[in-house]
Symmetry: C2
Subunit: 405 residues, 2 copies
């Protein structure tokens, strides 16, 4: 029941980046659950990872190894390898070591990623047994299969691609993501991999992945639950015949930044569109804040309110619940008499009260749509923030009550 | 589907306090929806009200009038009179003025309380037309009818009563509450009225209501939504033949405090037991915190996580979700290797990992119960906090998706 998420559009291959998929039978026999990605020699990779204190073993290892030479990314689904302590670290390292051995690279050139159930031992033998098949499958034109291979409760694969020209050279940015529940990324998302063939200096790449994640993955929420395994990686293979981008200026950087931001936004929003049980794609826009943080506080209070989310599911313009959430968001000295609230283009509350022009029919017409914007004008300053979320449906409860059965 | 909430136990009358119930047909014809409470001359009343910035008109008026002489409390259900601006204030004042006129007291001696849908105009004529019937119904032995009269989505009335002896005199503390959704009180709850015939100085009474609410109403959450209309009132009629309690010391104060705390706790927990769609009554206890605030941050992260709440509904010991919530609760420099987590008496995680002694069967046995304690040991200090919450069921979504239909 994904909202506005169709079949994948064309995902252009990125020169210097290949993907291979195999089945290790981690959760279900035959399911594609291991993805290996190979970066050409000389690639640079930057990333952001979860801020959850209980971060998973592979996240700890990936953090250690980022910045050094990276040649392979190894992802498994069906098991998060989180809450597993020293044994979890040993198992993650062992799977990386085996891949390094098969490919003749150093162990630290392999980054591990896991997603799935928390707290169970990683079935490392199963993963090892699937590595050669994944390596045999490596090809540049394999993004769609990889997008499917990293899915868990996702109902559809998620990916986006952009190309642009510079000095007669075509540059590609292609990315995929997964995630549908336990989604409130904080510095990153469940899993996102975005690659480009541009050549980018390490510092520039790190700033770029942080900025792009902040405006995309870090602005989505489904259930407010920040995962233990969030990772978002940006790979620059440097295969394009253009000079290295050594600082955040110039036309080439501007074009790349635009393409990267678009791909990040599309694959991040795709996670919301495929949110567990989602029947609505909801944009919460807060304007007129005194600070960005107070805009975010209001936006997340609205996006996390189970009462608003169930009203969205019911297409009920119960706008009083929106006012209530704005009121408890914790904004200091909030003057409610300055607040306007819009559902789509309809003003529902003006100066803190029901708008005199508002009719229930207008609200109902907006709420009946699949894509809804809630806009809140705080009247305190010039800051704005926008986040994206879903409704709360019977299906969400069903999916999460039955997740492990 | 309330959890462990049976028929009301005996609610002892409080000398000097009477209650009357009538039907104004605010939401449904014939429903008892207006409650008038009369306090004897010389009564003192203290209270706490919501911290929601969008607090309702009656809350603003009650705040103004608290501390002065109060003789009547006027409550309606079916309409919250919130988000209604100046017109809402005028309507609330008008209903108080009419009650003052009928009873010969000054208007400021009447406190208004409303609960129900937000943002609709208060049908003040309907309320006025029911006032005489409510006055005619006033009697000391009417607590159960009043507990029913203040209900909205509640499935059962909520009340508690205690008596104790001092110098041969019997002192009574009796209270009622309502609430089942939009419950995360902050300084108070939806509506709570607790009366005693003890004679208590105003300052002592105000401290007592604040302290008691902090440990009871301010430690419950159903959906994390702090209401616009929360009010909790403690009335001391002073009819008992004992000296005034003029400071927070002495045996009489200690006994009264104990009885008040017990009544507050029972009626606050009753709200959770009757939480919308609740099938579980869940205690979240956090020990070993460096500060009380970090204990509360962890407890509320666990209590508000939709993933944990749906696992509780499914009786699934998916303890990884608990670790994840502890990890994102925002505790600075959290050392996960010191954390233990217990489900009931079963240790599920030790030093941040799955306990070696833990079996899925042990966890499942605890989760199958209706009343479950999640205990988290942070290993950082000596602070503890306990809160109470519910699971998230299909029924919650159904109730809140269909609330206005």
């Amino acid at each position: 029941m994904a909202v506005g998420l169709g079949p994948l559009s064309t995902l252009h291959p990125v020169p210097g980046f290949e993907l291979g998929i195999a089945s290790a039978g981690i959760k279900r026999p035959g399911r594609k659950d291991v993805v290996v990605m190979r970066c050409a020699e000389g690639s640079r990779i930057a990333g952001v990872t979860t801020t959850n204190a209980f971060c998973a073993a592979p996240v700890l290892i990936t953090r250690e190894r980022l910045g050094g030479e990276v040649r392979y990314l190894l992802t498994n689904t069906g098991n998060a390898n989180a809450g597993t302590g020293a044994d979890g670290l040993a198992r993650a390292r062992r799977s990386c070591a085996r891949l390094a051995e098969l490919t003749g690279v150093t162990e630290s050139a392999v980054l591990p990623f896991s997603t799935g159930v928390i707290g169970e031992p990683l079935p490392v033998e199963k993963i090892e047994s699937a590595l050669q098949a994944a390596l045999d499958d490596l090809k540049a034109d394999n993004w769609e299969a990889a997008a499917t291979g990293i899915m868990t409760t996702d109902t559809l694969p998620k990916g986006a691609s952009r190309q642009f020209q510079h000095d007669g050279v075509t540059i590609t940015v292609t990315g995929i993501s997964k995630g549908a529940g336990m989604i409130r990324p904080n510095m990153a998302t469940m899993l996102g991999y975005i690659a480009t063939d541009a050549k980018v200096a390490q510092g520039v790449l790190q700033d770029l992945v942080r900025d792009a994640a902040n405006k995309s993955f870090n602005r989505i929420t489904i259930d407010g639950d920040t995962s233990t395994n969030d990772c978002c990686m940006l790979i620059a293979t440097g295969q394009a015949a253009l000079p290295e981008i050594s600082d955040a200026s110039g036309e080439l950087f501007a074009k790349l930044r635009q393409a990267v931001f678009e791909v990040f936004m599309e694959v991040a929003q795709a996670i919301v569109r495929d949110g567990e049980g989602a029947t609505k794609f909801v944009t919460v826009q807060v304007n007129g804040g005194g600070t960005h943080q107070e805009c975010l506080d209001v936006a997340y209070a609205v996006a996390h309110s189970p009462l608003i989310k169930t009203a969205l599911f019911a297409s009920d313009p119960n706008w009083g619940r929106i006012l209530a959430a704005v009121g408890y968001a914790g904004v200091p000295q909030l003057d409610v008499s300055k607040i306007d609230v819009f559902l789509g283009e309809v003003c529902i509350a003006s100066k803190g009260c029901r708008a005199t022009t508002y009719t229930e029919e207008q609200g109902a017409a907006v709420m009946a749509r699949e894509e809804i914007t809630i806009r809140i004008e705080l009247g305190r300053g010039n800051c704005s923030e926008t986040i994206w979320t879903t409704d709360l449906s019977h299906e969400y409860v069903k999916i999460n009550a039955e997740y492990r059965t």
